[in-house]
Amino acid sequence: MKRAENAKSFRGSFLLAFLLAAALSTAALWREEGEFLTAARLGWACFVGAIAFLIFYTGRISRWRALFFIVSAWAFVAYFKAFIFGLGNNAFFSPKIQEVPFCHIAIASSFLNALYQQYLAFRSGSWGLWGPLSLGVLWLGVTLAIGQGWCSWACYYGGLDEGFGRVLKKPLFRDFRLPERMRDLPAAVLLVMLFVSLSALLPVFCLWVCPLKVTTAFLDTERATRLIQLAVFSISGALSLVLLPLALKKRVFCGLLCPFGAWQAFWGRINPFRVSIDGDKCTGCGRCLKVCPTFVLNDGTLQNQTVSAYCNRCGECVDACSTGALSYTVWGRSLPVRPGFPGELADVRVFFVMSALGVGGAVGGVYVPDLMSRIFSWLAGAP
């Protein structure tokens, strides 16, 4: 197996993978569930552990991260909309979660109502009513742990355009350069959609624009409106999730449309992990610009040697840089890493990847093992 310069030793990689898998396995051992589900939870924990091992042992982040990310996204689609693949029987009906977790952008329209509910829940002292607030606390925890890294390590949708972006070896339009200011488009979409949602008291982005409605439903009662929504959904989905990622080898939806990405970029600044450029090592070859899947790196970035807050910490540029000019840092600072086990583990890259895979594994742990257990029971002949 080809290993990069900053690959960790076998012992170190195995230890980190074991720790991660063990942490994720506690969910399987803690609860008393059916044998299929327990086996599936352990399987998922082992899968995430294996990804961690491959990242540390090979020293290559993005290839293995992408595998994890794409599996997680397609499992999410299969979990919530198994009937798309013709699997409409009872084995694929979830008694637990019957609709996708609420996207943050959708909350704008019901924010005041949610706030009032929280006030009532607080007054009543009933913890069972604290659902939306718990989601808020979870979001804060994730943001503190990985910040904008959510978009490349834990988001249950991002693996869709990442997957299509990796189908071709080379982009069809090699010289395509996005105007720098266009990278703020998700923030503009967020701004407009927040106001419009508040005005309509509806999750307008989700109903009209989001091409990821593949995991939710068209809600409008009027047939003509539903047809228009379906047309917008189909066109925006085909373009931003499939065709443009195929042609450009970029994550077009995540980089140019997703308002949650802009939201996370703003609040993600509270997270200490960054991708930083070492000006002394940078030769200006531009390889990082070509591989950056979310249009974050551009000529201005290299000149100023600052990576914008939109960076997903996917590791693509870190892997591509032949001089090691790009690396994970804590607020721009690296830690002095001693070679060999165990000193090699005190590395920012280790801390970030462990945090990111931990969060991603925990998020995937909500639905991937359940999906796997349903597939097991379906194969075993469930109706």
């Binding site: 266009m182 503009a188 701004l191």
Partner: protein, 197 residues
């Protein structure tokens, strides 16, 4: 009282038009920001008074149905203006976009947007129209809607809170793009409204 009671709706309805424009155009100049807000409010005032007077004047001959296509056309028009404002700033090197700067409506864009936002029929607006239709007087309609304007405008004043941030280049860029996004959105909404009638 109707304006004061229903004003928050006007805030959410006008914000997608006004906030992106303020962020994109004010560039940290407080005087210019206040003028922009003033122009927008003037546009709304003119629309309200004209609509109120017309509703009162035509009340005898008016069958009670409102010109829904006219409203959709107004929303579509606002969308076109916002897109025309955004495109030359977003793609300054594209020749076709550069020509759009000369479009006459763009010189007084806040006034035009305020006017178009003013004739955007919303539930509180409809309640006001129903009251004016009963009166049958153009004068009463004009005064009624002028008061409605005063009541609702109180809620638009917090939008001035965006002014101190308009010197931030990043926000100017986001505002310019947001004008385009909002423009597309209003154009789409207008087209759907026109198709539905």
């Amino acid at each position: 009282m109707l304006g004061l009671a229903t004003g928050p709706y006007c805030l959410t309805a006008c914000a997608p038009m006004l906030v992106p424009y303020v962020l994109a155009s004010v560039e940290g100049r407080r005087r210019r920001g206040l003028l922009t807000l003033g122009e927008f409010l003037t546009g709304r005032f003119l629309a309200y008074v004209l609509f109120g007077a017309a509703a009162g004047f035509f009340s005898g001959r008016f069958s009670g149905t409102l010109p829904a296509r006219g409203v959709a056309a107004a929303v579509f028009g606002a969308g076109v203006l916002m897109l025309l404002y955004s495109l030359p700033k977003t793609f300054p090197t594209v020749r076709m976009c550069a020509h759009m700067n000369a479009f006459p409506g763009l010189r007084r864009l806040p006034l035009a947007l305020g006017f178009l936002a003013g004739i955007n029929i919303c539930p509180p607006f409809l309640a006001g129209v129903a009251r004016v239709l009963e009166s049958g007087s153009a004068g009463f309609g004009g005064v009624y809607f002028a008061a409605f304007f005063a009541g609702t405008s109180v809620y638009l004043l917090p939008l001035a809170a965006a002014l101190p941030f308009t010197h931030i280049k990043r926000l100017q860029s986001i505002g310019t793009l947001a004008c385009g996004v909002a423009g597309l959105w209003f154009m789409g909404t207008g087209v759907v409204g026109l198709l539905k009638g």
